[in-house]
Amino acid sequence: MSAVPQLLVSTVLLGGIYALIAVGLTLIFGIMRVVNFAHGEFLMLGMYLAFWAFTLWHIDPYFILVVAVPLFFAVGLGVYALVMRGVIHASHNVQIFTTVGLSTALQNLALVFWTGDFRFVRPWHSGVVLRIGGGAFNLSQVVAFAVAVLFTLSLFAFMKWTHAGRVMRATAQDGEAATLVGINTDRVYRLAFAIGIACVGVAGVLISPLYSVYPTAGLQFVLLAYVVVVLGGLGDMVGALLGSLIVAAVEVIGSYLFGSAWKEVIYFVLFIAVLVLRPAGLFGQRGAEALGV
């Protein structure tokens, strides 16, 4: 039983980071009704940004955040204008393959420019060990968690209390009605996409001291984020938070009980089970999946 506090702390730390990745994905889906299959690639780009800044100029990943937020926001705006805008009202297949194409292109852009080598970012704080709840965690992990939570909470506050946030929520609820009351939905979609990309880019920078950096690094995280988001109900932001904790718990407890090799099987099986039994998510409305929304 002595392992319980340690497992709990691990779960919360991991869950906080997953939440930041997933919340962007679910925001984009909730408002644009598009599943962004290229989400992981923006995470990968965030990791590379941190890697190059650290390697070339010895800038700590946490200072890079100041650049990463506006940079990824701008990237989001650009990708929206070039790629997403034209398919926002298209069929599911068109949307799926547009983002799949984007994912393929970005992954291989990274491969061509930066090769497939595994790279590492090791700033001083990744070597500092903290003892929390009987377990040892490095400082980078704790800071990544704190910053991720800060960003996630700011996004919640933004969605809840600002005018832009209310407009976005209105569009998510009913796009046509939003247009009728004079909301420029195109701008809402653009903003949602840019915010979603900024979140995942920031997450990439934050996790760079914790994981190795390579062109397909985004895949394992984004698969996880899909699990999180489907658990919580696609488009449901609070659900995404709970989903992150569930997935983190499954991962932490699963690797404690069965060894880290098999933990992924557990959450993919959980994922398929949720898709089959409650595709709208544990907390979502029934029937959302059949409408294809």
Binding site: V100, L106, V112, P215, A261, V265, F268, V276
Partner: protein, 323 residues
């Protein structure tokens, strides 16, 4: 022969090529073009004709590759037997995933299939006692038709051509048969199709299972040709995307689309691989950047793919000529 003109040209050219060209590189490209065209055609059965767009078809490909490779290394069994076992297992897997994910639409179905292929990837790469784990399985080379080992690439060309023709025939059947029309109805408007008494759920499950069996057969042949099964390749999401990519660029829901897509994509890939192989490994990725962009452009501007688009133009020209 109406409607088969393109097929006649493509498959005819493939059949004649080994008679004139003996260059190993070209024959290898031809084999890969036909092979990837055939798998993409198998994907098309579910993704194009039944509208069940899967991004986890590498699961079935891997099942076929592993069945034959494991049976050959463990029990000295013929790859044909392995292919049969693989097809049966893949059909079972297709029935299960097709049934479970039956209600799911669009992105939900795609996500469920991705998860399914990832589960198989993890099992194949971690279950060392059975699958040899992440090291992969080398396929023993034993010459002869029964053991599927050919030193000459010419034999491979005709074998894979046979596979391609079989997949083509299945697709043509789905275009012209009663079942095919029913599937098209389910794809376009499931509620309306159901109202007309079409068993839509059963049809979708059967289409996924048939597609899985064909994909698995292709996987077996591919493993025998390449001689090695790597779990991280045969179960990868990239491979699943490749099947979809060929089909969509060529023309989703058309019998020749997957082959036309494969001609474009596979030949550019082999060309770039040959050009950049000695420069820097990573540069090979250029072809995937091109395809990524091509995919975005094709689904946006010619969603019916090249075959669909040109087909429309030709029909329009035909009408003008008659008028």
């Amino acid at each position: 022969m109406r409607g088969h003109a393109l097929a006649l040209v493509v498959f005819g050219a493939a059949a004649l090529t080994p008679l004139v060209l003996h260059d190993g590189f070209f024959l290898d490209s031809l084999i890969l073009i036909l092979m990837w065209g055939a798998v993409s055609g198998a994907w098309n059965v579910a993704g194009g004709y039944a509208g069940q767009v899967s991004l986890g078809h590498s699961a079935f490909f891997g099942i076929g590759a592993y069945s034959a490779a494991l049976m050959a290394t463990r029990w000295n069994a013929s790859p044909w037997l392995g292919m049969l076992v693989g097809a049966v297992v893949a059909t079972g897997a297709g029935l299960i995933i097709g049934y479970l994910a039956n209600r799911l639409k669009g992105p939900y179905f795609a996500l469920a299939t991705i998860a399914f292929s990832q589960v198989l990837l993890i099992v194949a790469s971690r279950w060392r006692a059975f699958t040899a784990g992440s090291e992969g399985v080398p396929v023993p080379f034993r010459p002869g038709l029964w053991t599927l080992g050919f030193a000459s690439k010419v034999s491979w060309v005709y074998l894979v051509l046979g596979l391609a023709l079989a997949v083509y025939a299945v697709q043509v059947y789905l275009e012209r048969s009663r079942v095919g029309y029913q599937l098209a109805g389910v794809r376009e408007d499931e509620d309306a199709a159901q109202a007309l008494g079409i068993p839509s759920r059963r049809l979708k499950v059967v289409a996924v299972a048939a597609s899985a069996a064909l994909t698995s057969g292709c996987g077996t042949l591919w493993a025998q040709y390449v001689g090695f099964v790597d779990p991280f390749y045969v179960f990868s999401v990239d491979l699943s995307i490749r099947f979809a990519l060929n089909t969509i660029i060529g023309g989703i829901g058309t019998a020749m689309g997957p082959f036309v897509g494969s001609i474009l994509i596979t030949s550019l890939e082999t060309f770039l691989r040959a050009t950049f192989s000695d420069v820097r490994g990573g540069l090979v990725g250029i072809y995937l950047i091109i395809y990524g962009c091509l995919l975005i452009l094709v689904v946006r501007f010619i969603p019916r793919g090249l075959v669909g688009w040109f087909g429309e133009r030709f029909r329009a020209m035909g009408l003008h000529a008659r008028a």
